[in-house]
Amino acid sequence: MRRQLEGSRAVAEAVARCRPEVVCAYPISPQTHIIEAIGAMVRTGAIERCEFVNVESEFAAMSVSIGASAAGARAYTATASQGLLYMSEAVYNAAGLGLPIVMTLANRALGAPINIWNDHSDAMAVRDSGWIQLFAEDNQEAVDLHIQAFRLAEELSLPVMVCMDGFILTHAMEEVDLPDQDQVDDFLPAYSPRQVLDPADPLSIGAMVGPEAYTEVRYLAHLRQLDALEAIPRIGAGFAAAFGRDSGGLVHPYRTEGADTVLVAMGSVLGTIKDVVDDLRDADIPVGVVGITAFRPFPFEAVRAACQGAERIVVVEKAFSLGFGGVLSSDVAMAGAAPQHLVHSVVAGLGGRPITKAAIADLIGRARAGELGSLSFLDLDEDLIAGELGRMAAERRSGPIAENLLRDLAGAPRRPRQTGRA
């Protein structure tokens, strides 16, 4: 049924149709509307036989999910940003134990400086945790990916993180086609765990493993991630057959035929990029874009195939590794679709900075003119940087950087040195 819905509400409705048995919640913007809606649905009975647990931290949220999943319940939670970092020990643990928890990550920047707006730094921080990480391009895909995520997680006994851009998607009203309960029931079988805490058949989960088998346990977890490279497109195809729309899969190529320049990105920015590609194609400029849906496992072959023939690749990514550079772009470079020096990393949209069509078009122009370096930052305010660098060179106690930049932007005078006396 097609409805105008906020992204968070749409995801909550999708999760509800997946019949979760334990949902854990700790509030953090921009995830709150999702868990609020699910909490209300559990209270009204719209979600039956489900326990909604308000916990004291994200660490507890993931830990409760671990206990519930290990006891054979379908478990769901949602978080963002600092919340993901706070639960990160349990995030790794859930993957290591092979528990098919599904979690929405409403992607948000990481502090300090504290910032509630969207980028992908949070997801990147746990990219090595063993979770499958899927990125939604729009709210329809967010809905569809959640339904596929439970199927994928439970088939592989691996947790799945569905990433959707905070505010840009979670708080956007869009028309969304919500599947019927019967359709979801047909698509998503009841959870049948590989391992379960059962007093009638007791086993130990979470035993200590030393050097004699640790590598093998980790390797088997890697193999299951590789299995996902086959399962994700298969489940996506099954979803398309059942629901009549393409969603999910590993990558989404768009107008890449004959493109000399291919952009690569994840999440909602793909909509903006596609608009720019359309404009440039109208002007006979051969550019295309590849959206990456599955970030972990990373679909090397699919990326290579999708970018094949491009002279250069421009990766627009909403996160980077400090002291290193782009994360997604280094993965894309490893796929080998273009020589490494022709894979350009462009860090954009950090902390919610808008990524405009004009900026993307300018970027493509510079890339095609050979003027784009290996790593650049979109719309970097050079004057602001120079001001702070000058201040730091001039005096030792130059003060907190974030506060200094905000004063500069506001045109405010320097903060006078406080004496602590009246």
Binding site: V22, F59, A60, I66, A68, A70, A90, L203, G206, A207
Partner: protein, 342 residues
């Protein structure tokens, strides 16, 4: 309704072992039952004289009896987890999960929530950890589990330091005790005074339905409290003093003696509380001076080199404060002081 135990008077001194035979069969110790479960099986790698292994075995078999063998156990990281599950072996003969150091109460909440969602009110959840996992790193999740009143019995096996990592100070380490991070050097050797958490009282402040302390010196009492705890629903807390020969610098054969001395000196008050109020205390039967308890442990050896009588006096004062707070020496009604009510 919680069954009120029939008062039984034991007249032996120093042991309750003989008394078991005098009880009605259904009140005899769980471990004496040949048909009991074997929740923590032999062959594990705990040290000789480990108080924690002893306590866990009695608690879990008692919980299994109370729940007709339908127990899921959740374990924090620590000695108990490490010595019981070295790959590829496990000593656990019940459904058991270990996740992390600081999250056992939350994992237990998750298991309990799953059971509720599935309508399995017959399956009971017991979470357990050491004092570090309970009073320090797991404190947040424990407090959350308490305040939500989740249907979990949490058992803390308190050996008063981080023994698994090599005897470092925890928030349960007593004053003056030497640990690897409170060395017996400098002007105030050992752990500082005026620190530490009294978790049983913190648990009581959550007004959960049942809080009790126990030691491995009185295993019948430990079993009885476990069974009583299992008769409640919601969050419950059991704090068990478990001497650690390694960390305390004590002889393996002295585990029970030290646990008993901790109680008989007043250092470790043994009591039960319901809904935030103390409802019973185990009286001191033969009051012992704190110095007797200290002398048997190398972690206090520095107190006996040179004159540290002021420190020993301070520790004695702490014991006296416990005795006064819980009425550990006051005779119960119509009872001779020599007699303890179990």
């Amino acid at each position: 309704m919680i069954p009120v135990p029939t008062p039984v008077r034991f007249y032996q001194v120093g042991s309750f072992a003989v008394g078991n035979r005098l009880l009605d069969p259904d009140q005899r110790t769980v471990q004496a039952d040949t048909a009991r479960t074997n929740s923590l099986d032999s062959g594990h790698r705990a040290c000789q004289g480990c108080g924690e292994a002893l306590g866990a075995r009695y608690v879990l078999d008692a919980a299994m009896r109370a729940a007709e063998d339908k127990v899921i156990a959740v374990n924090a990281t620590g000695c108990l987890e490490v010595f019981s599950t070295p790959y590829p072996e496990s000593s656990w003969r019940l459904a058991w999960i270990h996740s992390l150091f600081g999250n056992a109460p939350a994992v237990a909440t998750g298991v309990a929530a799953a059971m509720r969602a599935k309508g399995r009110d017959d399956v009971r959840v017991v979470a357990q950890g050491g004092d570090g996992g309970t009073v320090d790193i797991g404190f947040g999740t424990l407090s959350g589990m308490f305040e939500r009143n989740d249907d979990v019995l949490y058992v803390c096996y308190d050996n008063e330091a981080y023994m698994n990592t090599g005897v470092q100070r925890s928030g349960a380490t007593p004053p003056a005790a030497r640990t690897a991070t409170t060395e017996a050097v400098g002007p105030a050797p050992g752990n500082a005074f005026g620190q530490g958490k009294d978790l049983p009282r913190i648990a009581m402040a959550h007004e959960i339905s049942y809080v009790a302390t126990a030691t491995v010196a009185d295993l019948h009492d430990l079993e009885a409290k476990t069974i009583r705890a299992m008769a409640h629903r919601g969050a419950r807390y059991l704090h068990v003093l478990v001497p650690c020969p390694l960390g305390w610098g004590a002889a393996s054969k002295d585990t029970i003696r030290l646990a008993r001395l901790a109680k008989e000196t007043g250092i470790f008050p043994v009591f039960e509380a319901e809904h935030g109020e103390v409802v019973s205390v185990a009286k001191i039967r033969h009051k012992a001076p704190v110095v007797e308890y200290l002398q048997a442990q190398r972690r206090y050896a520095h107190l006996f080199k040179g004159d540290h009588s002021d420190v020993i006096d301070q520790l004695q004062a702490l014991a006296e404060a416990n005795i006064a707070r819980y009425g550990l020496l006051e005779p119960t009604s119509a009872e001779a002081p020599e007699v303890v009510e179990d």
